[in-house]
């Protein structure tokens, strides 16, 4: 039961990207990063080999949340911020589905922050794609909980004064069992992270840095350069180019590679502290990849097991005897 997809029936024959493309016209702005993610997902899904009808995408509201319309799977475009709770009900009642949530930084972290946190702590078997463009796209450009402080937007003409969330830190603080970060423009990396996320049993959170050319262009310009990112690989030293990540007093920092003792990335460490420290890394390089990937019982598996145990130990309930109860009497 360790794969997130182990109960999902397989298609049994090869699939292609086109089968996963719906007949709906894609309506994002030209150049929007969402296109790249859509292409990656449409390319990745066939490789899972699942029966297409056993895949369900649920989104909230936002530009990114239009995603399900463009995939020829089952899809629900729900209401703002609530997709994780809807997905929870679906995942608990349908072990045979591969359940995906598509959400934005406003949808997931502003109005929907609580549902996200609770999904992560419960570890419901679903994969959450958090399109982080650090802005509210659909409502035309207000700042979001991940916007850079000082950001001038429609709702902050004098600059935002909110400290931003770091979605990876937040997820780790919320007991997440799988947390990753990737970038819209790096198709190969995105694909590999999505595959791992889909296969993880429990809630996987994938933060995707996504460019919004209209309202927050080039927010991730740095992360689109090879020098801007630091790839995390489980079991490997954490280095990039001439730089290494080293530890001192519980804090991680970048140091010139030469002579440094880079830490070894352990995504599977039971204690999330090191992953958390990585999420706080400062100095101009953004770690991408899988921060944490640990096995923990999935809520939905346990919920179904309780039902199964009850049935096997007490027998499938008999309605008549339930209604009668222990204290009934009869009149004639």
């Amino acid at each position: 039961m360790s794969s997130g997809l182990s109960l999902v029936p397989l298609a049994g024959k090869p699939q292609n990207r086109k089968e996963y493309t719906s007949d709906q016209e894609v309506r994002w702005c030209p150049g929007c990063g969402d296109y790249a993610v859509l292409a990656a997902v449409q390319g990745m899904l066939p490789t899972l080999g699942l029966r297409r009808e056993n895949i369900a995408f649920i989104s909230g509201i936002g530009c990114s949340s239009r995603f399900p319309y463009y995939l020829d799977t089952y899809g629900m475009h729900s209401i703002h911020g609530r997709a994780p709770s809807i997905a929870t009900g679906l995942a608990v009642s349908r072990p045979d589905l591969s359940v995906w949530v598509v959400t934005g930084d406003g949808d997931a972290l502003s109005i929907g922050g609580n549902h996200l946190m609770h999904a992560l702590r419960r570890n419901v078997n679903m994969t959450i794609l958090l399109f982080n463009n650090r802005i509210y796209g659909l409502t035309k450009g207000q700042y979001s909980p991940t916007s850079t402080p000082g950001k001038v937007t429609k709702s902050t003409p004098a600059g935002s004064i909110d400290h931003a969330f770091n979605p990876v830190s937040l997820a780790l603080g919320a007991e997440a069992s799988f947390v990753a970060r990737t970038v819209d423009s790096d198709r190969a990396h995105l694909t590999s992270v999505l595959l791992a996320a889909a296969q993880h049993r429990g809630t996987s959170l994938v933060e995707i840095y996504q460019n919004c050319p209209i309202f927050n262009d080039d927010a991730f310009a740095a992360e689109k350069t090879p020098q801007g990112v630091l790839r995390l690989e489980h079991g490997q030293p954490v280095t990039a180019g001439d730089w290494a990540v080293v530890e001192e007093g519980g804090r991680l920092s970048l140091s010139p590679l030469a002579g440094a003792a880079p830490i070894i990335h352990d995504a599977q460490a039971p204690d999330p502290s090191r992953a958390f420290a990585l999420s706080r890394l400062a100095g101009g390089m953004t770690p991408v990849g899988i921060f944490r990937q640990v096995e923990r019982p999935a809520y939905d598996d346990e919920a179904r097991a309780q039902v199964a145990t009850a049935i096997s130990s007490r027998g499938r309930g008999d309605l008549d005897s339930l209604l009668r109860g222990p204290d009934s009497w009869s009149r004639d």
Binding site: R52, G89, H118, T309, L323, D327, S330
Partner: protein
């Protein structure tokens, strides 16, 4: 054994009152169980403070349980108790004013100390100063008697004196001829794991019984002959339990697994608690992080083909409005239960009210009609739940079921239905294309206007749904003006077209007044009408289960009577009462409202007075 007189009564109302910690709810529950077994009809009214354990000995800490039982059918827990059992001064003070003239008071004198009298706000000892003149008073140090009776079991003083509720129950059971066995059995089961407590409580009960039989304090025993009732199997049931069972029954009869998404809130939590015990009926309960997640998860499960249910009370329903709107757009079956409590805002959580009807009808953005059904009595919660699910599944729509604190916690004997007698509910999932080779997720059944329920996992029916306006038939996103207008009207027509049975009117003939009601006022209204008729007044009664859509014959019915009276436990936002607002608007009939919003069910005598005025008064 002293010679006691056996007197036969047709009805008795007893109220047990004590501190929150005194176990009055349990005492009442067990007395009711014994009463039910004795074949009396009965109705109960628990009443407890919002605090978990309000300060001992104070008025705010008083918890009570009232029980009305009779040799005929009983409609309410009774206006005024004939017997008051008061375990301390505060319980006496808080309840005495309700006692019927000439009633009986049984007092545990143990706590009538100066300190406790002050706590209860008594300037002098009411047992000594003549306050109780006019009542039949029995005083005894029930606590001390209990402690003595359980001495041998080595309990702490605290645990020993706690058994006084069982002593009291024993005494009352003796007095009213309730059988001892069920309670003794119950205690054996309940304290199976704690033998000392088990034996002590059984001993206390028996000691109470013997105390009645042995001392000369109680000169009279009472007998209340069984009430006639149709043959069959009976049990007592509270509204919340009946609601939980109705949901399970609907799951059973539809073959759908039940998924409850809920967040605890008084007085709805017990439905969650009861369903959580029934996993072997393929029931999954999910305690969500809030009410929005509760309905969200239920909706997700419904999409997946489960019977999605969410339960809450008023403040929680307020939070679910947006999601109910989504469910309306998605046109998926969903059961939403609101166990109403005193409002607005946090209001009076442990008190009853029927002030959420307009919220249930209109509490969301845009035109988002949903069927609304209301249960009238504890047992009726069962039938209403089954019917609500039938509508939800048949018409692919969220359905709102209204109950309230009064019937949720109140109990009555209930004729247990057989599973086979319940309606079969057919989910009728979509399995293939419905228009030539293609599948149109918003193509409707011509008679019900229901759309297909095509669950994920069904090959070939992949489609997308959502809260943006959908194109007719295809379900694609559509911003087309004409389509929007059409869809708004279609969704309304679907709800308006739900087949609702004609209204049952109880009219002995040529009545001048029709009293109409909904929900938990059924009992008090029925009792009041019975009394009014006994006085010779001509009064008809109709009680509505279907509040949206309303029965098709209702307009004609209302117009048939010169006067229509509608008592409601709400104020109707200044429009009369909440249902009155709707009926007046729909039928342009001058429905007269009688409203009471004090957190209590109607007193029968008040209603009788209102009926008298309506029948006799000029308008």
């Amino acid at each position: 054994m002293t010679a006691t007189v056996l007197r036969t009564l047709d009805r008795v109302v007893i109220r047990f009152a004590g501190d929150s910690g005194d176990g009055m709810q349990l005492t009442g529950d067990r007395f009711a169980a014994g009463t039910a077994v004795s074949g009396n009809d009965l109705s109960t009214l628990p009443n407890f403070p919002a605090e978990i354990r309000a300060p001992a000995g104070t008025l705010s800490g008083v918890s009570s349980f009232q029980l009305h039982f009779a040799d005929h059918d009983v409609l309410t827990p009774g206006d005024a108790p004939d017997v008051l059992v008061a375990m301390n001064p505060a319980a006496l003070r808080a309840n005495l004013r309700d006692l019927a003239a000439g009633g009986t008071v049984i007092v545990d004198t143990h706590d009538f100390t100066k300190r406790n009298l002050v706590k209860a706000g008594y300037p002098a000892d009411p047992l000594a100063d003549g306050s109780l003149d006019g009542f039949t008073v029995h005083r005894a140090d029930l606590t001390a008697l209990t402690v003595a009776a359980v001495d041998e079991f080595g309990l702490s003083r605290k645990d020993a004196s706690r058994a006084k509720n069982m002593f009291t129950l024993g005494l009352l059971s003796w007095m009213y001829g309730r059988p001892a066995e069920p309670t003794l059995d119950y205690l054996s089961k309940r304290f199976a794991a704690k033998p000392a407590l088990r034996d002590a409580n059984r001993a206390a009960f028996t000691a109470g019984w013997n105390y009645g039989e042995t001392t000369e304090a109680f000169a009279v025993r009472y007998e209340i002959p069984p009430a006639p009732a149709p043959a069959g199997r009976y049990r007592t049931i509270t509204g919340n339990l009946a609601l939980a069972y109705g949901i399970v029954a609907a799951g059973d009869r539809s073959g759908l697994p039940v998924f409850l998404g809920s967040y605890p809130i008084t007085p709805a939590s017990d439905v969650l608690h009861e369903l959580a015990k029934l996993k072997h009926f393929d029931v999954t309960t999910f305690q969500a992080e809030d009410e929005i997640a509760g309905i969200g998860a239920a909706l997700g499960a419904a999409w997946g083909g489960a019977l999605g249910v969410t339960t809450t009370s008023g403040p929680g329903l307020a939070l679910k409005g947006e999601a109910i709107g989504l469910a309306t757009m998605l046109e998926l079956p969903l059961l939403i239960c609101d166990i109403q409590r005193g409002g607005p805002s946090t209001g009076l959580p442990t008190k009853t009210e029927q002030a959420d009807l307009l919220q249930a009808m209109f509490g969301r953005n845009g035109e988002a009609p949903v069927p609304v059904l209301a249960a009238r009595s504890p047992g009726d919660c069962f039938d209403t739940a089954v019917e609500a699910v039938r509508i939800a599944v048949t018409y692919r729509t969220p359905v709102l079921l209204l109950s309230d604190g009064y019937i949720a916690n109140g109990a009555e004997p209930w004729a247990v239905p057989s599973a086979a007698s319940l309606p079969v509910i057919s989910p009728d999932f979509a399995t293939g294309p419905n228009e030539g080779d293609t599948f149109l997720p918003y193509l409707r059944e011509p008679d019900t206007l229901a759309r297909p329920w095509a669950v994920p996992g069904t090959p070939g029916l992949e489609h997308r749904i959502g809260g943006i306006e959908k194109a007719d038939r295809t379900g694609d996103i559509s911003y087309d003006p004409a389509n929007h207008d059409k869809m708004v009207r279609l969704r309304q027509a679907k709800i308006d077209g739900i087949a609702v049975p004609p209204t049952f009117v109880d009219d002995p003939g040529s009545s001048d007044l029709l009293v109409i009601g909904w929900g938990s006022t059924y009992g008090p209204i029925g009792a009041a009408i019975r009394q009014a008729r006994a006085e010779g007044l001509k009064v008809a009664q109709a009680h509505l289960r279907y509040l949206n859509p309303l029965p098709a014959d209702l307009g004609e019915l209302l117009r048939r009577y010169p006067r229509v009276l509608l008592p409601e436990m709400n104020l109707g936002y200044g429009y009369g009462g909440q249902l009155a607002l709707l009926l007046r608007s729909k039928f342009l009939v001058d429905v007269q409202s009688h409203t009471q919003v004090n957190g209590q069910p109607f007193a029968v005598h008040d209603l009788v007075e209102v009926i008298r005025t309506q029948v006799k008064g000029d308008r």
